[in-house]
Assembly symmetry: D2
Homo-oligomer: 475 residues x 4
């Protein structure tokens, strides 16, 4: 049973959700979306400058989750707004939302950078929780997964490397080896980028992908995933990485150095050499959570542009900014493009719901290529409408742009996703070619029937090799 008919289409939580999606929402989802909406409107948006102030203050001593967010996390947990992303397979822990339904929630969460965190729905913990739930043994789950689910700690994912082209993960070179002095221990050496920042007081552990068997003839069996506790000796953070200048405190992004770092063998996930198997399994809805949130963020950027366009104090050449038709068209362009991108994300979520993650692979790539790049452009247009102010901290637009720009490379640069899709398409070109060759035969029949001389376009008629190759038009 769905609740499509009970939704008020003017309610701001639903106004930009396509009809086909509204029709599919369960009553529980409708209620949850409304709650998330109210939560973000009342607890997050108005609190933004306070969180900012708390972070700045905290940074003077220690990087940690700001008090306001800590309080909201407690409250969200009590109100059932925690771990909304968890699919049904998590049993009681799961709120039972479909990916499509969760997408509507995440869209709203995106309006504030840290809102997802108040509901324990933030990256990379969401992906990590799914990974741990899927591939850990019971002991590992109890030790590492449960505290995450309970919101008692945070985790990082550590894969990117500075020294190789790690967007092609078979290149990953950070070494993990048997400790020669202790059969129960492993030794790690290498460098990593982009795990969350170690300065973060609440961070508990890292899921590391490293090379355990560089000479294995199968390049997909050379790597292993292992859990690295934060306080592991020999594991050092070189610096916090800024993203376009932002430190993204308190989560941050670390640059790491492993120098004979030792971790217990029991921290291996699934088994030695099985990192790619796990990585494959991680390729699910979590891959588009960023995209979902970018929609809401761009929605908010658009609202700010609308406000600027109608600000009675801003009248260049005597008219409201929104009275200039270039701006009228610009707003329309943003509105329409954003909604088209929303359709792409929702379609991907639904495809995974119905057909599974593997079938959704193309739709995921489509999100990752189209959404971040275009959202960044849309937000940029909103910024420009604010003139000089648009680039300053007077608006959240610069941080929004930066987040969108970041997602263009997070989980792989867009070129890598285009490449994957393009190769799959070319692999499937044989079926298309076959169909087109059928046209030629039928064309000849029809030429006979209608007494028309057969045309060739740029190819010999003698049936030589290039004839098939040269199929263009229809013959």
């Amino acid at each position: 049973m769905t609740a499509g008919s009970t939704i008020d289409p003017n309610h701001p939580a639903f106004a930009h959700i396509p009809v086909w999606v509204q029709e599919k929402l369960s009553p529980k989802a409708v209620e949850t979306i409304k709650k998330v909406h109210d939560w973000v409107e009342n607890e997050c948006i108005p609190a933004e400058p306070i969180v900012k102030a708390q972070i700045e203050l905290d940074k003077k001593t220690e990087w940690k989750t700001p008090k306001l967010i800590v309080e909201l996390r407690e409250k969200a947990k009590k109100e059932g707004l925690f771990n909304l992303f968890l699919p049904k397979s998590f049993g009681d822990l799961s709120p039972g939302l479909t990916n499509l339904e969760y997408s509507c929630c995440a869209d709203i969460m995106g309006k504030v950078y840290w809102a997802a965190q108040t509901m324990n729905c933030h990256a990379p913990d969401t992906g990590n929780m799914e990974l741990l739930a899927k591939y850990c043994n019971e002991g590992q789950k109890k030790k590492w997964l449960l505290p995450l689910l309970n919101g008692e700690t945070f985790s990082a994912y550590s894969m990117t490397e500075p020294d190789v082209a790690s967007s092609d993960a078979t290149n990953i070179s950070c070494r993990i080896e048997q400790d020669p002095s202790d059969p129960n221990m492993l030794v790690i050496n290498g460098r990593k980028l982009y795990g969350n920042c170690k300065w973060n007081a609440e961070l508990g552990f890292y899921i590391l992908m490293a090379c355990s068997d560089p000479n294995n003839p199968n390049p997909w069996s050379r790597h292993t995933m292992v859990i690295v506790p934060k306080d592991t000796p020999g594991f050092r953070m070189v610096r916090n990485l800024t993203i376009m200048g932002y430190d993204h405190a308190p989560e941050g992004h670390g640059e790491y150095l492993y120098t004979n770092a030792r971790v217990p063998k029991e921290n291996i996930i699934l088994g030695t050499g099985r990192a790619f198997e796990i990585a494959q399994g991680r390729l699910g809805p979590g891959r588009i959570h960023h995209c979902m949130r970018l929609l809401g963020q761009t929605e908010r950027a658009y609202e700010l542009a609308l406000l600027r366009a109608t600000d009675p104090a801003k009248k260049p050449r005597g008219k409201l900014i929104g009275a200039f038709d270039s701006n009228i068209e610009r707003l329309a362009h943003i509105r329409m493009t954003l909604d088209a991108l929303r359709g792409v994300v929702l379609n991907a979520a639904h495809t995974m719901d119905v057909r599974g993650n593997k079938a959704g692979k193309y739709a995921i790539a489509q999100c990752k290529v189209l959404v971040p790049a275009q959202c960044a452009e849309l937000i940029d247009e909103c910024m420009q409408m604010y003139g000089g102010q648009g680039l300053t901290q007077h608006t959240p637009l610069p941080e929004m742009w930066t987040y969108a720009r970041f997602v263009r490379i997070a989980d792989g640069p867009d070129a890598a996703h285009r490449h994957q899709v393009g190769r799959d398409e070319i692999k499937g070109a044989g079926r298309v070619r076959e169909r087109h060759e059928g046209y030629r035969e039928r064309y000849r029949e029809l030429c006979g029937k209608w007494g028309v001389e057969e045309e060739t376009f740029g190819m010999p008629r003698d049936g030589s090799g290039s004839e098939k190759a040269g199929i263009m038009r229809t013959n």
Copy 2:
């Protein structure tokens, strides 16, 4: 009951239809889509050069529907593939497809420019049939609508003018007046562009929008729609208009001169001065039929690009064109953008199904702005992959590009649609502003609670006028 589960997702008629749409297709629609698919694959694509040859031959004597199409129309009628676009309100004549279902059919029809015509689903007749069905009296319906439905004649729509900015239809200046010498007759004087070509032997009549009462204080009551039979004396075609050089025979696009042309008063539709009322009613699904077909056309352009990329005879620098990663990424870009546009069109169709044409207004504009411009770009990339050949008649790509370019101005240039959407958005900005003002109050509360000094960004704190205007951030 839907047939989603019975669809083979690899069937080429469904492979690019989103899951959510597949789920909504009735068994009858699934069957119809398959039939349309087979029809286009077997009867249309392979027949393209034959139709082209017949048209060229015919043009030497008379512009008329080529024999192959005439035969296909007869056959389509027998096989129940005629008038597929007709909504249920047409009773038995209607095949009972929803807009969403018809969209899947039209998408496929789009693969060949004239395929829609073989099924009597071509513009402008589809829009005209809806108009006549909705606004004509019984006598008019019998005389003008029935022959169209039966496929016995064709019609034109005549609105654009060369002498004024008719994209703003209140400017339309072609005059229609009472004939001083005959109370049952009207006299028309003026110039029109873009009604179909009079040279077309089968064309029966024009639906003309003209100015009957230029001094009416209400600009929306100054115009009248009237049926003008082709052989009306005083009604002359000055020339056939080419579109980017194409004559589009045998339909064509005429430039017309009315010099004291006389038509019977009984040909007025709905009533004098009610043209805008009718024009409003015409703003339904027919407005996106072009966009639906552009999808299929771009799909076919993409298939041609795939073939070129894998043509074993074409190896610049020794590699297949599709072995260059720039082309791999290009193909992926086309595939993904095209599918995103398909989502936009299907969403518009479904929105009209569920919420009605009026609620679909925004989604229609979204189609008209995003689809033609982007499809033209995608087809252009396909052309470029064919090198010099791409621009010649060796491929249908130049005609495809031209059609997409044409739709960017048909039914109004895209700027006009952006303008309409932008103005509506600005009208609704008040609600957004209200919400944002709520943030400010809540922010103050939270400042109190957390002991944080209230921040102002670029605005005085004294509550003066610009404070509200200046709401940016959240406070």
Copy 3:
């Protein structure tokens, strides 16, 4: 001596020529530019529809140069406006203009598609004349070059092939062989695209590039250039190729079939196997003549857009089209982009003047990549400002767009030029790397001096291989 100071900067022939170019014009060049300007303004632009009418009439019987153009060619010859492109090396035949000066002339000629032809400055004859002058023996020159210079005949260049990827010319497969039955004759077999149309009555001969020695280990010595007279038996035109639907009569573009076509051996240019040597020599200013003319053509498109913007009869929503700020900005965008492109072309012309054709290679590629694609976009924007009329024969804009689009592939698709430049840049990256490695040493010195700890970014400090590789920042 230059005439820069004597130029009236408001004269329409000079208004958009940069100051630095004006300064370099000789008095003779200034005078010639003015004459070309008056010629195009008085003899060409107003005659456009007449030429069109004459061509249409001629086509019913024979494709030939329209009478008006024939007359203008006679007149231009008398007035010294013939063969303006000829460099000084042609002696008395040359008007003595630099490439830079000729560029200013060609820019103006570009306003009308056929204006260059009235001055015998049209492609492909300009390139062919240079080729023949440079590589033919005296007998060949007398027979083939002189009639071209005198304007008594026309020529074609035949290189592109339908069956291979001929943008990589080493793939050219059309075969030229010794005639086994006659030692003085050659036999040709193969297919060609894009030589001018044989239907053109005045066309005299083709310069053909074909494969004479497919097994030569040096791929650059396998091909030969030969002159093929139009009436050669065994040489057949399959069809005239249209470009985006335009037949480009009377020049046209042919698709050709050679079936044992026999030409005298004496028609070989320079020598067997030396086609690439000749092709290299052809890579001079002639390669950017199209780009020069595209500037003038886009200038005229822009003028038409300005006229539309200020047309008092066109008032959507009650205002001139040019009163909408979106159009004001659009016009500025076109104006500024066009002038930037003009700077690119003029710079390329001047670079060849001073440094020679080889040094100008990069600047030529820059023209070919930037100018056609961007001019096509600019013209497209002008078209859109005309609404529905913009795509019809009411304006010359569709033909202009098509010409710009054509030049994107003429003499190689833009991707090929980008590829060439990119590879050259990568070849030169060693020097850049060396310089950057110098920064590192200096940085270390400065660290010492200022007592700052050396930073490493994503690289080990141990001097291992990746250190040099990883140079990013400055250290």
Copy 4:
């Protein structure tokens, strides 16, 4: 005498300077350019991380010019590399470079954000020095200008306001009034954005534009410019403004509040109500200094991209990044676009040299519209080639992008410049229309001569009003 012929075209300081510019460089300029080149290569690029470290350290106590820059400024002064931008009108202080020559220097300086400052060529002081030199009396010059020229202090320019649309400067509302209690003093009240940061210890004074006579019927006489010393009571900095998150220490960008701030009347520049006169005079070469430097900055971004493309440690899918043809084409695109933009800037500089600042207005606007937006895009492509690292402090690319983005709004958003150019073009459309009307008459003559019927396109032949309006084609 120029030194064009003595230049080594492979010297990295000249490699990308067009030939026409090289020809115009005086021997002194050639020498200066080389010195600037060596200076930036040896003193600035390798010192970047040290300056960064010094700034971070300084910020803990006081914002001030880092010691390394202080030392370089001393050294540059001694070596004659100080105040290079000063035109000849500054007498002995001026190095005598033309704008064109200075542009070549500034291009190189742009490679490092703070390099211009080491030579006292940084904004906004360059513009301020010109302003003070041009409009101040001798006493003012001695007090305010001399210390700037000597590099003893820094200055700010204060114009933008948060409360109005100050991109239209007639809106500026910050009030400056006679002090009722002291005839020699003025009182200022209002808010300003974007003057440099007051925290900067070396900052000496602000040039403020404020409203002195709001009711003056002439809106261009309502404003006054006045010098505001940094320590003026009642003049408070609210916060440092970040630009896309960067604090731009130690210069910064302040948000300011004037609350009954009092300055001596003698600080008025030129006279009460003459601010626009001064602002006009400021519109010279200083307006494109940012654009000049953006070229060098983008050049350096491009070099970093080249390094990444050829980094032997980075091999996705087993190949160098620069072995992928998509990247080869990308690099070519950046190279060619950057050089085209360089042409635009150099042309603007030269136009001002020869024709004066007023004639250069269009060329200035062309720079400001085309250069920052396109440089930002090019830098963004370089960033993306670095994958995840590209957004971090591992490369200077994020700061480079931010600077380019900032210049899109500095001195007015690009839309404002487009608007200005577009309006000027439309004003000049009358001349174009006149010319086009001439075509029509000539066309009629030619129709007569050639016996061709006159064509009309979309317009009546009866000479009525719209005939002229409707001129399209040529008739």
